[in-house]
């Protein structure tokens, strides 16, 4: 079995198991802790709708904080939207998903994807530089932050290098790319990258707690 077959087969397979098991482990591990009932009389209805509201609204910055957080927010947007586009709108990726989902959706031209991918990498590097130079971030950062950065950027960079080639064969680069994706999938549930699913739980919690108070969310 060559590297590509290993990457596409067992590596991806095991990574998928770990991704699914780890994510659910973390979600269930949080949700099955003791519940704290809130007996206070609600000012307005909360519940699931409130959770959904905050899940949506926290995607945007409240105006008082716009100036102060503009730079990292912009970078984060570029990185997230870039990642989103690269992962979900690159045609070969769509084919990958189609392979087990059984349906497809329209993608973007490679040049656009390439541009967005490069933008995401640049934003990612800028975010790392910020993390390394900003005193606040230096203080609060730990291994998770740096490794998660690596785990995210690595597949992005290896993916972007496939068309650029630089001395490697397509299948070697593709194999490295898939392996780097496998690494990302394996790491995702355990570190802060878990925010891909935790964002719904965390924001949702705030929605449920504060929306019923009528407080600012």
């Amino acid at each position: 079995m060559d590297l590509l077959e290993f990457a596409k087969g067992p590596a991806l397979q095991v990574a998928a198991y770990i991704l699914v098991a780890g994510s659910i482990w973390r979600i269930v591990g949080i949700l099955l802790l003791k519940e704290k009932p809130d007996y206070s009389e609600p000012r307005q209805s909360g519940g699931l709708l409130a959770a959904l509201k905050v899940i949506y609204t926290r995607s945007f910055t409240a105006s008082p904080f716009k100036a102060a957080t503009m730079y990292p927010k912009m970078l984060a947007y570029v990185m997230h939207l870039g990642l989103f586009a690269v992962v979900l709108l690159f045609v070969p990726h769509i084919m990958f998903f189609e392979g087990f989902l059984g349906f497809e959706w329209p993608g973007l031209p490679n040049s656009v994807i390439f541009f967005l991918g490069v933008a995401a990498v640049v934003a990612g590097i800028a975010l790392l530089v910020r993390r390394l130079t900003n005193p606040v971030l230096r203080l609060i950062s730990n291994f998770d932050d740096y490794f998660s950065w690596f785990a995210t950027l690595f597949p992005l960079v290896t993916g972007l290098l496939i068309p650029v080639r630089i001395g490697f064969h397509y299948e070697t680069l593709l194999a490295i790319h898939i392996l780097s994706v496998a690494l990302l999938m394996i790491w995702l549930p355990f570190g802060k990258l878990g925010h891909t699913f935790l964002v719904f739980i965390t924001r949702g919690t705030t929605g449920m707690v504060f929306e019923r108070r009528g407080a600012k969310t």
């Binding site: 991806l12 198991y17 098991a21 591990g29 084919m95 392979g99 087990f100 490679n110 397509y170």
Partner: protein, 351 residues
């Protein structure tokens, strides 16, 4: 041993002018995928090259490779090269048969000991020597005997180079490639099912003109022809970049000649010269004809996933195992939460 004539002498004897020779060298450079600036060196080399003796062994094969080569051997320029080699043994092509043929092989081996080329098509069965024999000699024995005095071995076609279809899972005959058996001689793999005839002749031409083996890739393939992917040289590549793909064999995209990646084209991982050299004297190649590349010049191409499955497809098991992983996640999460709660209870009791 009488001295074989040089190619220059042969051509001169045929009344070919210097201009004709230059033209011949130019086309040779083209065949060898060498830059035109190399033409003067080729001219010099060809003038002084001598006819080598060639022994062709056919094992577990379909004769497709020979067909491919002989179809190209209508009197073209590369045909001239074949005039310049001495094909001393080829049991499909030669008139002689049986003991006579074997005698010719032995004679050629003896006469050109250490200098002849062995061409092999077909894989060699190790499961049982009786699976494939020629004149009562098993393939593996004949290969070993013939290769012993050879200058180099050329494995023609994917069967000889990598085991090919006989070697595909479950490989009932225990088929192996030439490289699996020949360790002490240089082996050039010219895979393909079949290989492009021009590539086969070019490899011989290279050996003939420069008297040395071409630069090879990690699979022993001449880099000149196997250095780039079909995808890299494919005229449909711009459609790939634009994200325009044929989704079925008869949709608008297929008619418009869009990229065949989605239809399983293995162009991106297949190293061969089809996209530029093309087939049938430069007429076309599979992608131009509307069919995705099968990747026939790559090892294990037969077992490497479906021909019509896009390259980017992952190989997943059924969803059941994934559901199992999900169930395991639920269990682990529940255990973790229970452990957490137990710790809390313990701490509360301790105050």
């Amino acid at each position: 041993m009488k001295k074989r004539p040089t190619v220059g002498e042969i051509l001169q004897a045929k009344g070919v002018s210097r201009r004709g020779f230059l033209k011949y060298c130019a086309t040779t450079a083209s065949i060898l995928a060498l830059p035109p600036s190399m033409i003067p060196r080729i001219a010099e080399a060809i003038e002084n090259a001598r006819r080598p003796s060639v022994i062709w062994l056919s094992f577990q094969e379909c004769t497709g490779c020979t067909e491919s080569l002989t179809r190209s051997a209508s009197p073209t320029v590369e045909g001239l090269i074949f005039d310049a080699i001495s094909l001393d043994y080829h049991h499909t092509l030669q008139a002689a048969a049986g003991d006579q043929a074997e005698a010719a092989r032995h004679a050629a081996m003896k006469e050109n000991d250490g200098n002849y080329l062995v061409l092999v098509d077909g894989s060699i069965p190790l499961g049982n020597p009786g699976f494939s024999t020629i004149a009562g000699i098993s393939n593996v024995d004949m290969l070993k005997e013939t290769v012993a005095g050879a200058a180099a071995v050329v494995a023609i076609g994917s069967c000889a180079a990598f085991g090919g279809i006989p070697g595909a899972d479950p490989n009932p005959t225990g088929a192996v490639s030439v490289t699996d058996l020949v360790k002490d001689k240089p082996v050039i793999n010219v895979p393909g099912c079949p290989p492009i005839p021009m590539v086969m002749t070019a490899v011989l031409t290279q050996f003939l003109t420069f008297g040395q083996l071409p630069a090879l890739d990690k699979f022993g393939r001449p880099l000149a022809f196997y250095g780039q992917t079909i995808h890299d040289r494919c005229y449909r590549r711009p459609f790939y970049e634009q994200g325009k793909f044929a989704k079925t064999f008869d949709d608008e995209g297929a008619k418009a000649g869009w990229c065949l990646y989605k239809l399983g084209c293995k162009g991106p991982t297949t190293y061969n010269a089809c996209a530029t050299t093309k087939w049938n004297s430069g007429t076309s190649f599979p992608i131009e004809a509307g069919h995705p590349c099968l990747g026939c010049s790559e090892p294990n191409f037969w077992d490497d996933g479906g021909f019509y499955e896009p390259l980017s497809t992952g190989h997943f098991d059924s969803g059941e195992k994934l559901a199992g992983a999900a169930a395991a996640g639920v269990a682990l999460g529940a255990v973790a939460a229970a452990a957490g709660r137990r710790r809390q209870a313990k701490f509360m009791k301790e105050g």
